[in-house]
Homo-oligomer: 247 residues x 2
């Protein structure tokens, strides 16, 4: 008889930003398969468990999704309580559906535990609400697709229509993203905020305008970073200008 | 000297879906101001604290925002460790900015702790990822504004452009929402999912098409409900059809 799998969102990074349920399930787990985005501190909740790293970070060594699916099914055949720990929330840009399909096919029981997604941690760190009564009534979570062979128009349209946008990943392609947004008609003085390492000690934020976005290449972003776009960040921009002038 | 305020996301409802940090801060709080959306079980983390209910639910008795701001500032002058506990995540449809502005103005220190927003809990409950490689590459969180005197066009555009949309609140206006989406050109067979009481024992889900959305008025939704829209819900719809035929 196979074990049960809990697919758990680890949250944005800080070990205490996982949910209470997620922590308790980690404490009771026999085996934990974890992403490269999961911080080592998070694994201190489960010293008793067999730890199975399953790569996955955009530009670093990654384990093919099919292989992850297989490892997950194998673990459920070997252990009673398996945790699949994914950075952020598992149901948002997590390719969870492919893992769930593999578990369904193998007849393995699972449960999903949501997590705090990076955008919400960035909003908390920056103290800027993603929505604002009157002028920011919706927020889009998206990824920019500006690589070779990608048609840019299909990702642009919802970004241009939304009041606030959070772009996950892709900050390293900032010049191409800026070019696409400008070509799409977004005003050059649109306020942006880049947040690196949301919720972690090395958290940094960079307020800038769309016009200045290509400069992000010089920010030496090493940790996971997201790009926030919208009028709600204008106050942050004004503050940064003041600091710059005072400095 | 004033105390410090922690603005904490309570998460979608279940007491163990608050973050570990949120729970620990509740356990140490002197006073807790909480929303109507916060479940009573959540307050078991803070039996030592003075509990201050501050209404707020769309159609129930609510405390005016300005009064909440004042109560928050007053509490910080009276207690060292104040928690402002908000349903879901504080920085998404939470009017947090108005409370933060009041704290700023009063010179009171604060920190924000993010939470799991209802959309992510609904995704976990339904086991349907909000995004899917290839055909659901972005997700919009929005509110529908179909009340009298509202211009519908400004909320519609991003909804029509996004691959997946989560509409917070407003399910009770399902007929007006359906009419607006159909008039905007959304196909009548677009798959939808209504999730009521995400993460709670009374959780119910209703798969249906846009054409059928006006029927939601008969679902007798008592708890908080959100409306999810997009092709990712088509599989759920097919499953519901099978169950209906078998029944």
């Amino acid at each position: 008889m196979a074990g049960k799998v809990h697919l758990i969102g680890a949250g944005p990074g800080a070990a205490d930003l996982i949910t209470v349920r997620g922590m308790r399930l980690l404490q009771a787990a026999d085996a934990v398969l974890f992403d490269a985005l999961v911080q080592p501190e998070m694994l201190q909740y489960c010293p008793q468990a067999v730890l199975i790293p399953v790569g996955k970070r955009c530009d670093k060594a990654s384990t093919a999704q099919r292989f992850i699916n297989k490892m997950l099914v194998d673990a459920a055949h070997k252990y009673a309580r398996v945790v699949r720990l994914k950075g952020g929330d598992p149901m948002l840009f997590g390719r969870a559906q492919e893992e769930l399909a593999a578990l369904d096919e193998a007849g393995i029981e699972y449960e999903i535990v949501p997590g705090v997604t990076a955008a919400l941690a960035a909003a908390a760190d920056s103290a800027i609400s993603l929505t604002r009564r009157g002028f920011a009534r919706n927020v889009l979570f998206a990824t920019a697709r500006v690589g070779e062979g990608e048609q840019t128009s299909d990702w642009l349209k919802p970004v241009l229509a939304a009041d606030t946008t959070v772009l996950y990943m892709g900050v390293k392609q900032s010049a191409a993203i800026a070019a696409a947004l400008l070509a799409g008609g977004m005003p050059p003085d649109t306020p942006l905020l880049i947040v690196e390492n949301a919720s972690l000690p090395g958290c940094r934020e960079f307020p800038l305008t769309l016009r200045e976005l290509p400069q992000a290449a010089t920010f030496q972003l090493d940790g996971p970073a997201i790009l926030l776009i919208g009028e709600v960040y204008r106050a942050k921009l004004a503050l940064a200008d003041e600091v710059r002038k005072a400095g």
